[in-house]
């Protein structure tokens, strides 16, 4: 056992001295963690999204009857920040006092077309009168329309439109209520429930991401670390030197596995510390189930690294293969975001990807999501991968050049 531990210690020193390894295995997951939380942590939340909206009111009616003015008032309210220091939801662009409405409208239309503004809202002439006419006629006549110009394919136009629809729906209900066609007191009660979290609230992105990034870090340590260390050491004839000593392949493997486990522990500790103290993560890994999945993940990716190393002859080819595998496997496993309904070919990839099972199982045992697959499957698939990887590596991986 002592030679294996000595080798593990030496291997660990080499790992910690290599800037590239330190960067990709330790620093990069932390950087990615911070970046993804900064981007997605508050995606779509008021105070973080902001839309430029043009508004033209051609409706002449004034006072209480002026519906154009009422819509403008609601949009004006949305142009004020909900909280001190936060960005308002909208910035409303309106024609200056004496500006020609047609000129303003053409300019705003161009701003939407060129993507500078999200929407242009035009309340047509005679809008309020038209609505009153509609209300005085029998129910079921076509509603009077507010024009809204949006840019095809623009996400900001799409989001702003959803908000505008709520504004118009609110005005519509108020108008119908004032005409006695809608009774707000009889409106249905709508209740929101988030399924799959113990508290019944939405899972925070930082909590969702933390286990995903821990697995990603373990995965890259196995996928790049194992082929990198073994194939380059074999090419440079470093392994050959070991084999002329009493040091055996099983001892090498034991020492190598200990180093891999220490690197994984280091990655885990660092990510937890950054998550907890810098990014406000609250998720806890202190449970036997979580420990089981972390150990299983570390072993799966260690074995997977041997599998990848056994498929190629040189270190450079190993790195190229690892790079090509890394992106589809990590993107299509739900590590960074929930993978919803995927088309056929990708569903197959998802079904055989050990990362997706480990992510699913780990998140489930730490109470972050409901059951997408049975828990036993989240354990069985990685174990099958370990067996398969070791079987292939045992048959194909050579421990010396030209042997």
């Amino acid at each position: 056992m002592r030679p294996a531990l000595s080798f593990a210690l030496a291997q660990l020193r080499v790992t910690l001295r290599e800037r590239e390894t330190l960067f990709w295995f330790v620093l990069f997951p932390v950087l990615l963690f911070v970046l993804l939380v900064a981007i997605f942590g508050s995606l779509g939340q008021e105070g973080t999204i902001h839309f430029e909206v043009g508004f033209v009111n051609r409706d002449q009616a004034a006072g209480e009857a002026g519906l154009g003015r009422r819509i403008e008032g609601i949009l004006e309210a949305l142009s004020r920040p909900a909280q001190e220091g936060k960005e308002p939801l909208l910035h409303l662009h309106r024609p200056a006092g004496t500006e020609n409405l047609d000129v303003f409208r053409a300019r705003e239309e161009e701003a939407v077309r060129y993507g500078r503004h999200a929407l242009l809202v035009v309340v047509p002439e005679g809008f309020s009168a038209g609505v009153l006419d509609a209300l005085s006629s029998r129910p079921g006549v076509d509603p009077v329309k507010v024009q809204v110009f949006r840019r095809a394919g623009s996400s900001s136009s799409g989001f702003a439109l959803l908000i505008l629809k709520q504004v118009i729906a609110g005005v519509d209900q108020a108008v119908l209520a004032s005409a006695g066609r809608f009774r707000p007191e009889e409106a249905v009660l709508a209740e929101t429930t988030f399924l799959g979290s113990p508290a019944g609230t939405e899972v925070r992105y930082v909590d969702f991401l933390l286990p995903g990034l821990v697995l990603m870090a373990f995965f890259t340590a196995g996928l790049f670390g194992v082929p990198g260390a073994i194939l380059f050491a074999r090419e440079q004839r470093i392994l050959r030197r070991y084999w002329v000593t009493p040091f055996s392949v099983p001892q090498f493997l034991a020492g190598f596995s200990v180093t891999h486990a220490i690197v994984c522990a280091l990655q885990f500790t660092l990510l937890i510390l950054v998550g907890r103290f810098a990014l406000g993560a609250e998720v806890s890994f202190a449970s036997p189930g979580a420990a089981l999945f972390l150990v299983l993940a570390s072993l799966t990716f260690l074995a997977f690294g041997f599998f990848v190393a056994s498929l190629v002859q040189t270190g450079a080819a190993g790195m190229a293969l690892a790079n090509a595998i890394n992106l589809p496997m990590t993107f299509l496993s739900g590590l960074y975001y929930q993978v919803g309904t995927l088309p056929g070919p990708l569903r197959v990839l998802l079904a055989v990807n050990p990362l997706s099972y480990l992510a699913d199982g780990l998140r489930r045992v730490i109470g972050l999501q409901g059951a997408a697959a049975p828990l036993w499957l989240s354990v069985l698939v990685p174990i099958l991968w370990i067996g398969f990887s070791l079987f292939v590596a045992g048959r194909r991986l050579s421990w010396d050049v030209g042997r």
Binding site: R151, G153, L189, T192, T193, A324
Partner: protein, 359 residues
């Protein structure tokens, strides 16, 4: 090219092409990564059907029928009926539906999967719309006010995948230029290949030009493959302005070489320079509107995005492929901006990077 300089330059271009073929990192980031992006995003977003599957259950009486009718008439969703609350909740957990609506006779329960944070805010807006329409329909009222939506721009851009392809093309140009300097040239310097080349009559600018020619050719080839693949496999429908496309591709590749110069000047070790280039390209991929629309980023990241050249190159590429309208002045300003970056950086590159190493 029949002069000795011309022949030497051609020889250098051939050698550079061979070196690129052997440089697996550059090859991966310039050719393989954009290709993988297209395949992955194409399969995920290329289907064209972006309506949200919505599950509903409960309410067998007239209210149930009203809910069913409202759901069927709501644009942007595909409703599916479930026999009971348990099967609806299971479908939400398995992500077979985006969200669920359960009518228990007195109230509507809107059910979301707790960890679908990237979609839940849009689902909630959709659900609010359904609740409003259900409310009116239940009381026998019909809307008096509605919206008349008028889309502007190329209708093909409405498919998210069509918007993304030009961004990936721009990303391919970024990596071609960036890794040419911060990976390749710094590596030549470290291996002393650069020193040997600089003892020949070939001026440093000739060497830089050979690198730029090879990277540009690779970037154009990669772009062509991406365009063909996107059209054949995923029905990408560009309205390509070839002149603008070529002008932007040329300017962006040499402009990004200028950006790589900045990295090469700050980070001298070739592997570290390649790592920094990697980080820069990943940051830009996330913050330049290539994968996530800039408008949806938080304010401080939106400000960062405005400072990133890839943001503008991606916009220019959307314009050159007909996916985004843009004034001619703005497009050419982007092209000139990229060329300006190259013009500002190349003298620095020739003076401080492409020079013999002091012993």
């Amino acid at each position: 090219m029949s002069t000795p300089f011309g022949r030497a330059f051609l020889g250098l271009v051939r050698a550079e092409a061979r070196a690129f073929r052997r440089d697996r990192v550059s090859l991966f980031f310039t050719v393989v990564l954009p290709f993988l992006f297209i395949v992955v995003f194409g399969l995920v977003m290329g289907g064209g059907g972006e309506a949200v599957p919505v599950g509903y259950a409960g309410g067998s009486g007239s209210d149930g029928a009203t809910l069913e009718r409202v759901l069927r008439e709501t644009e942007g969703i595909v409703p599916t009926r479930f026999p009971d609350a348990a099967s609806l909740e299971a479908a939400i957990g398995e992500k077979k539906v985006g969200f669920g609506i359960l009518w228990d006779g007195g109230r509507l329960r809107l059910l979301y999967e707790a960890s679908r944070f990237q979609e839940n805010s849009a689902f909630e807006e959709l659900a609010r719309g359904v609740v409003t329409r259900f409310d009116l329909a239940r009381q026998g009222a019909s809307p008096a006010v509605a919206l008349d939506e008028i889309p502007l721009g190329n209708p093909a851009a409405a498919r998210s995948f069509n918007e993304m392809v030009p961004g990936i093309l721009a990303f391919s140009l970024l990596t071609a230029g960036l890794f040419a300097v911060s990976g390749h040239l710094t590596s030549m310097k470290a291996r002393r290949t650069l020193d040997r080349l600089l003892t020949t009559p070939m001026p440093p600018l000739g060497l830089l030009l050979a690198v730029a020619v090879v990277r540009l050719a690779v970037a154009l080839l990669a772009s062509l493959v991406i365009l063909i693949l996107s059209q054949v496999l995923f029905r990408f429908e560009p309205t390509l302005d070839l002149g603008k496309f070529l002008a932007l591709a040329l300017a962006a590749t040499v402009g990004m070489m200028g950006l790589g110069t900045g990295i090469a000047l700050l980070v001298r070790r070739p592997q570290s320079a390649a790592n920094v280039a990697n980080i820069v390209s990943i940051l830009m991929m996330f913050l330049s509107g290539v994968t996530i629309p800039v408008e949806l980023l938080p304010p401080f990241l939106r400000a960062v995005s405005r400072g990133l050249p890839l943001t503008y190159v991606a916009q220019g590429m959307r314009h050159a492929t007909g996916m985004e309208e843009m004034s001619a002045g703005r497009f050419w300003a982007i092209v000139l901006g990229c060329l300006g970056m190259a013009l500002a950086a190349f003298p620095l590159l020739a003076r401080y990077v492409v020079r013999p190493e002091r012993r």
